[in-house]
């Protein structure tokens, strides 16, 4: 498609960034050499700890010194070594010739200054324009990044904008002075998938129109396939592979790249629902939950938010149902209401025919062994002061199992989830994120539940670990005949582990059915938008089909 332009916009030569003496690695970036051509988008992909963000920050010399600092190499921009510039020359470069977009637009903007004023500051610092001219330029920029009502937005504060609007403001700021290079550090990671798709489209469009070079940092190969001209893969501070997007995605050279690409969950449903629907193990009927709005003690009054609105759904015995939705859709509240962490306002929940909603804690206790949960954050889901054995054995001990027997069972469970049985005597902090998530799964299995609710169990994990955990969950489910309610924001993950899917938006279910059917022909507008927004969908669904090792259902092969 695009061949590297003859004149590079930026050349990184042998860049080495040292980490402080107390960290477990000596270098965040080690001897990295990379070129970004004019008018191209270069994606730098890597998992957490790959040094990709540190590399990006060192270009603008924004490293959190004095501990993290560049110790070797050159960064050539327009023939000059950026690392050798004096402070005022560096400042002149920042925001005008090279600008940057950050991951979390909420914290990246000053909360006490209007967004108009913050954008204006770029012109104020770098140009001689008067106030009126600057204001006109800001308005033009806001229109350029498709912000609604620029006049009103100019005087708004960051908290009054949506996440997508805030990121548009950041992009406007980055574009203000037509920089030669824009560094975008995971600019869509904090956004919902539909917003992400819009921002990616906007970035690509602006990049083409202005002919800017973009260095785009991401962890998501889907995003890469949407936006990149070329890709560089980083691992533990070193460059693994660099090439065109097609080359790297279709025929990766390095083993690591291949493993990473393979680990991206496909959009092609892996499980096809068998014709006959089995009897339901979980029945949710007309469940609603409203937050706030009550006039509480001392007249506190909040806006009522209907988090979950009249939800009715069923999970078939031995089946796995995905609840898919963006942030604020109410999917997590639904999960909490079902398992009794929250009390629903109305509606009933039946597990295997037995009503479990509206029970007291004591009445619920014997039923706990039938329904368990796997949590999102592997670093918050295990008590740091308890041994792994105690963590896993807690449920069985409460159900009346002798402690020694429960510990023995914990050892077996650890073996089952792929860990050493000796792990029972260790503490959570000795394990990695993926290993902790395995411990969390073992804990859920300890009481031999019929149903497991998994609340975004892989969204905090790196893609390669994510794949392993998903496969473990899937294997265990089939092996142990479990049923599963799987909460996720990621359609690709849903496709990987669930036969059925419901799509939630603003507290209501907008569409439901077998995963394969819905993915093949979504009926509801929102489902269509959601599927459309999946980063790299054409690559995942089509081009990559050839390398995918999953069975492809005939219904969606086209």
């Amino acid at each position: 498609m695009t061949t590297p332009a003859p004149v590079p916009a930026l050349v990184i030569e042998g860049l080495t960034v040292a980490l402080p003496s107390w960290s477990d690695r000596r270098h965040a970036v080690e001897d990295l050499t990379l070129e970004i051509a004019r008018n191209e988008i270069l994606c730098v992909v890597g998992e957490s700890g790959s040094g990709k963000s540190v590399m990006a920050k060192s270009i603008l010399r924004l490293l959190p010194g004095p501990h993290v600092r560049v110790t070797g190499g050159r960064i050539l921009f327009q023939g000059n070594d950026i690392l050798a510039l004096n402070d005022s020359a560096m400042r002149a470069l920042r925001g005008s010739a090279i600008s940057m977009i950050f991951q979390e637009p909420m914290t990246a903007l000053n909360p006490l200054m209007t967004v108009g004023r913050q954008t204006d500051e770029v012109f104020d610092v770098h140009t001689e324009l008067d106030a009126t001219a600057r204001r006109q330029r800001v308005m033009a920029l806001f229109e350029d990044v498709q912000l609604p009502e620029p006049e009103r937005l100019y005087n708004s504060y960051p908290h009054e904008l949506s996440g997508g609007q805030r990121q548009r403001v950041m992009i406007a700021m980055a574009l203000a002075l037509e920089p030669a290079l824009i560094i975008a550090d995971e600019p869509t990671t904090a956004l919902d998938v539909t917003t992400q798709a819009q921002i990616l489209r906007l970035l690509k469009d602006l990049q083409r129109r202005h002919g800017t070079a973009v260095l785009f940092i991401t962890h998501d190969f889907g995003v890469v396939s949407e936006i990149a001209d070329r890709v560089a893969v980083m691992r533990q501070g070193k460059l693994v592979e660099v090439g065109t997007v097609e080359g790297v995605l279709k025929s990766p050279q390095a083993d690591y790249t291949r493993a990473l690409v393979d680990a991206v969950p496909s959009l092609i449903p892996r499980h096809v629902a068998t014709a006959a629907a089995p009897d339901p193990i979980l029945q949710v009927d007309g469940l609603s939950k409203t937050y706030g709005g009550r006039s509480g003690l001392f007249g506190m009054r909040g806006r009522a938010v209907r988090a979950v609105d009249q939800i009715t759904l069923e999970v078939g015995r031995g089946r796995s149902l995905a609840v898919v939705g963006e942030s604020g859709s109410g999917k997590s509240t639904l999960a909490r209401c079902i398992i009794g962490l929250e009390t629903a306002d109305v509606g009933s929940v039946r597990l295997d025919g037995q009503t479990i909603s509206g029970l007291s804690r004591a009445e619920m206790r014997p039923l706990r062994q039938h329904i368990q949960m796997v949590f999102q954050d592997p670093f918050a889901s295990l008590n740091p002061r308890h041994k792994v054995g105690d963590i896993i054995a807690l449920g069985p001990v409460i159900q009346g199992v002798a402690k020694s027997a429960a510990w023995e069972e914990a050892r077996n469970l650890l073996r089952l989830v792929g860990l050493q049985p000796e792990a029972v005597d260790r503490y959570p902090h000795e394990f990695s994120g993926g290993q902790r998530q395995r411990i969390g799964i073992a804990r859920a299995l300890a009481v031999k539940p019929k149903l497991i609710i998994a609340d975004e169990p892989v969204s905090a994990l790196d893609v390669s670990v994510q794949k392993q955990v998903l496969e473990l969950l899937d294997d265990l489910r089939l092996k142990l005949g479990l049923s599963m309610l799987f909460i996720t924001h990621d359609l690709r993950v849903a496709a990987h582990v669930c036969e059925d899917v419901v799509v939630m938006s603003n507290g209501v279910i907008v569409e439901r059915g077998p995963t394969a059917e819905i993915f093949a022909s979504p009926k509801h507008q929102y489902t269509k938008a959601l599927l459309d927004a999946v980063p790299g969908k054409s690559w995942l669904g089509g081009a990559r089909g050839a390398t995918a090792d999953f069975s492809i259902s005939p219904a969606v092969a086209n």
Binding site: G296, A380, I398
Partner: protein
């Protein structure tokens, strides 16, 4: 990364602070042996200058200044620590219940806590001691009454954040009872801010105790540092050391506690300290 012990005991603030506190503690514990006799007893003529007799001289009534300081260490530390322990116990109870149960209970308890934080606390302590009539228990009660709100707020904040963590939810799902969850899952993970806040409150308690004693609201017949300054203030012009020496002792003690408390905080939260 260095271990907690290395970070804590390698800190110059801790070395300096703990050395002084240890010194004071020795006097507090062994006062009857290091300065035998009644600190109120008249031993010689008044206004003997420091280093000219009895170590640090005598006060306006001819009482031994050194003996007063030694016994004062005992009284001041005892009252301050006791008051803080009472405040920590009560504050933890209020904070833990408010944070854990939330809702109306939380709203009520926090309004009460805020109320006690808003009212002029030292003035309240004065009124309380005056009405209860000055004695060791009433001073301890006064100190506890004015010190518990910060503890309650810190504990509540921690409990609120810890109880949202998924391991607590996991315990709920496992069917653990509320009290067990609070004691086994939540409270152990709120200990470090509680310890830091309490240690800093001991310093405040010493200041409150000495101010009360200075105003003549200390326990009668108990020698304390604040009382020594209060009884020496009339003679500021002629015998400045009667005020200066106990004041320096209070200052250095309070400062030592603050230094150790802050170093403890930094050692427990190494990431913040790196800033």
């Amino acid at each position: 990364m260095k271990s907690f012990q290395q970070r804590f005991f390698g800190d110059i603030r801790v070395i300096a602070g703990l050395s002084w506190l240890l010194f004071v503690l020795v006097f507090a514990v062994f006062a009857p042996f290091l300065a035998p006799g009644d600190p109120f007893a008249i031993v010689d003529k008044p206004f003997i200058k420091p280093f000219e007799g009895y170590g640090l001289g005598t006060d306006s009534l001819g009482r031994n200044l050194y003996g007063g300081l030694a016994h004062g260490a005992r009284a001041t530390l005892f009252i301050a620590v006791l008051g803080t322990v009472a405040a920590a116990a009560f504050g933890t109870l209020v904070g833990a219940v408010a944070g854990f149960y939330g809702g109306v209970i939380d709203a009520c308890l926090m309004r009460i806590t805020e109320f006690f934080q808003t009212i002029p606390s030292f003035l309240f302590a004065i009124v309380l001691v005056a009405i209860l009539s000055p004695s060791v228990p009433s001073v301890v009660i006064a100190i506890a009454t004015v010190s518990w709100p910060p503890i309650a707020r810190v504990v509540r904040g921690e409990v609120l954040s810890v109880k949202q963590r998924e391991y607590v939810l996991a315990a709920v799902i496992a069917g653990q009872k509320d009290l067990s969850i609070l004691v086994q899952q939540v409270l152990p993970n709120t200990l470090s801010p509680l310890i830091v806040t309490s240690s800093l409150l001991v310093a405040t308690a010493i200041l409150v105790e000495s101010a009360l004693s200075f105003l003549g609201l200390g326990a009668p017949n108990v020698m304390s540092w604040g009382f020594m300054i209060g009884s020496g203030r009339q003679f500021l012009r002629d015998a400045w050391w009667l005020v200066t020496i106990p004041g320096v002792v209070i200052l250095v003690t309070v400062m030592s506690i603050n230094l150790v408390g802050e170093a403890l905080n930094d050692a427990l939260n190494p990431r913040l300290a790196a800033l």
